[in-house]
């Protein structure tokens, strides 16, 4: 039986008494070593979820557990050891004056010895493909490079779960691709739970599971393939379907019966090819 790492129990949240509810009665679980993508339009409550997970915000109703511990003002420092976060704006989370200072920041806060810091620094910069930039100042890095440093900083303190809160939203396509590749590499090489929050459907393809948020509520939960098949619904809640799903839909309308919902070009072509050879 997989063990639960994160649990939301009937969580509701709003920023103030007079404000509307941002999250309404949300319940879900995230298990160890899985990659879960949370997707939703801007303002759907997805980023609030991230902030609740490491005690940057607290819910008015319901409970949140990280590794069996409830998240309360008393446990936040424990919780934050387990939950690492990468935020959207590459500039506004870069604390150090150089790359190595920034990566060290989290380790310094947790009282790592200097020798340990140096070893880990090497290791995590290599993991994100930035070993040559140790001494570089942030304003000489691209947005994508800064985000890779942010990922390295989180990895350095080896949390159980990493949350990427729209970490690619401000990057160009190349930067975005590199970050997704970095994430994939990290997930492969380490036992780590990954939570990516995004509004880009392309970024959920590789996740093990997807949670779709709409107006503060859990709209859907399932495998990427299952989510992709709900095109009309997705469009209604402001999310675009990727080209490949739209094409699959049109093919079905044109009378071609595909065997499964394709996730990428290869799957669709393979399916078409099988159908083609049969005729």
């Amino acid at each position: 039986m997989r063990s639960k790492l994160i649990e939301f129990r009937n969580v509701s949240f709003r920023y103030g008494e007079e404000q509307p509810w941002v999250l309404k009665d949300c319940s879900f679980e995230i298990y160890e070593n899985e990659w879960v993508a949370i997707i939703g339009h801007n303002g759907s409550g997805k980023s609030t979820i991230a902030k609740l997970m490491n005690g940057l915000l607290f819910p008015q109703r319901g409970e949140i557990f990280i590794d069996q511990k409830p998240v309360t003002p008393d446990t936040i420092w424990e919780v934050r050891k387990d939950v690492g976060m990468v935020f959207q704006n590459p500039d506004n989370q870069f604390v150090g004056t150089t790359v190595q200072d920034d990566v060290a920041f989290g380790m310094e806060n947790r009282g790592f010895t200097r020798t340990e810091m140096l070893t880990r620094l090497e290791e995590v910069l290599a993991a994100v493909g930035m070993p040559a930039y140790r001494q570089t100042e942030p304003h000489r890095l691209s947005g994508g490079q800064k985000q890779r440093v942010a990922i390295a900083s989180v990895l350095a303190v080896s949390p159980q779960v990493i949350i990427l809160d729209e970490a690619t939203a401000m990057l160009d396509p190349k930067g975005r691709q590199r970050i997704m590749q970095t994430i994939k590499d990290v997930q492969h090489s380490k036992d780590i739970t990954l939570l990516t929050i995004t509004h880009d459907l392309h970024e959920i393809v590789q996740a093990d599971r997807v949670i779709v948020m709409n107006d503060g509520q859990l709209w859907d939960e399932g495998l990427p393939r299952e989510v992709f098949s709900k095109k009309d619904g997705l469009k209604e809640i402001g999310l675009d379907t990727p080209f490949i799903s739209s094409l699959a839909e049109e093919l079905k309308l044109a009378g071609i019966s595909l065997t499964q919902e394709p996730l990428n070009h290869e799957e669709l072509l393979e399916d078409l090819w099988t159908l083609h050879s049969r005729t």
Binding site: R80, G84, N92, F105, E108, G111, H139
Partner: protein
């Protein structure tokens, strides 16, 4: 793009002076500033000048950077020189300008005072030329460490300084961006009556403040998420170490001080 000029005009290098512990540099400069005022004859000035120039050459910082640093104070040095030359009425009269008679003592006095000025500026600018701002911050944190006992927020001060250093280039880029956006909306920052030009700053300052606050808020959140809870129990990656070269430089400096005390009248 022009950030290199703005942040403390640090000139990267690997000289003895660059590699000294920043605390050594700050301490020595601190005492140098004092002993400059002890100099009172030719030889005492000579020994200090030799020390300053030797440091300068050891640092291998190109002379033009030094001159650039001195630029804003040249006027002050010359002004001091002229003032003392005119006001001091000692020694023998040398020549007249306008209604003033210039005495030999005046020339010497003017020379001595402007020399002090020159030495002070030379040595302090050598600090910023060979030490990164963050090293200076670290050194200040270490040197002020004893003040923690009287609850002086040394760590917070140092963190504040290092975050400011980190964000100067970012905010400069932002300023440029916003001023270009507003110029595109017809704001003229360069011409027109003073009143209009002052008004033109509002569309620049408001967005800058808004963005700075937003950045501060997000940064605070990111720092908290990364486990920052004040200086308690924190370790440090950057470490300062007094090495052999520091001891050597201290000895040399003490030698200079002793020499100076002997030579002065």
């Amino acid at each position: 793009m022009n950030n290199a000029l703005v942040i403390g005009q640090y000139v990267p290098g690997n000289s003895l002076i660059h590699r000294l512990d920043p605390r050594t540099k700050i301490t020595i400069i601190f005492f140098f500033v004092f002993i400059v005022f002890f100099a009172n004859n030719f030889w005492s000035y000579a020994i200090l000048t030799v020390f300053a120039l030797a440091s300068l050459f050891t640092s291998r910082v190109p002379i033009r950077f030094i001159l650039k640093g001195l630029m804003p104070v040249w006027f002050l040095i010359i002004f001091t020189f002229i003032l003392h030359m005119i006001v001091t009425k000692e020694g023998t009269p040398v020549f007249n300008i306008f209604t003033f008679t210039v005495y030999s003592g005046g020339i010497l006095q003017g020379f001595a005072i402007s020399m002090r000025f020159f030495l002070l500026i030379l040595v302090t600018s050598l600090l910023t030329l060979t030490t990164t701002p963050i090293e200076i911050t670290d050194a200040i944190e270490e040197l002020l460490h004893p003040l923690k006992k009287v609850r002086f927020p040394v760590h917070e001060l140092a963190l504040m300084m290092s975050i400011s250093l980190r964000f100067i280039p970012t905010l400069l880029q932002e300023t440029e961006k916003i001023s270009k956006a507003q110029a595109s909306r017809g704001v003229d920052f360069r011409t027109g009556p003073i009143k209009e030009r002052v008004q033109a700053v509002v569309p620049l300052l408001v967005p800058l403040f808004v963005s700075a606050f937003k950045r501060a808020e997000e940064l605070a959140m990111a720092m908290e998420a990364r486990g920052y809870q004040g200086g308690q129990g924190r370790t440090k990656l950057r470490e300062l170490k007094i090495g052999k070269r520091d001891i050597f430089v201290y000895c040399l400096f003490i030698g200079v001080v002793i020499g100076l005390l002997f030579i002065r009248n």
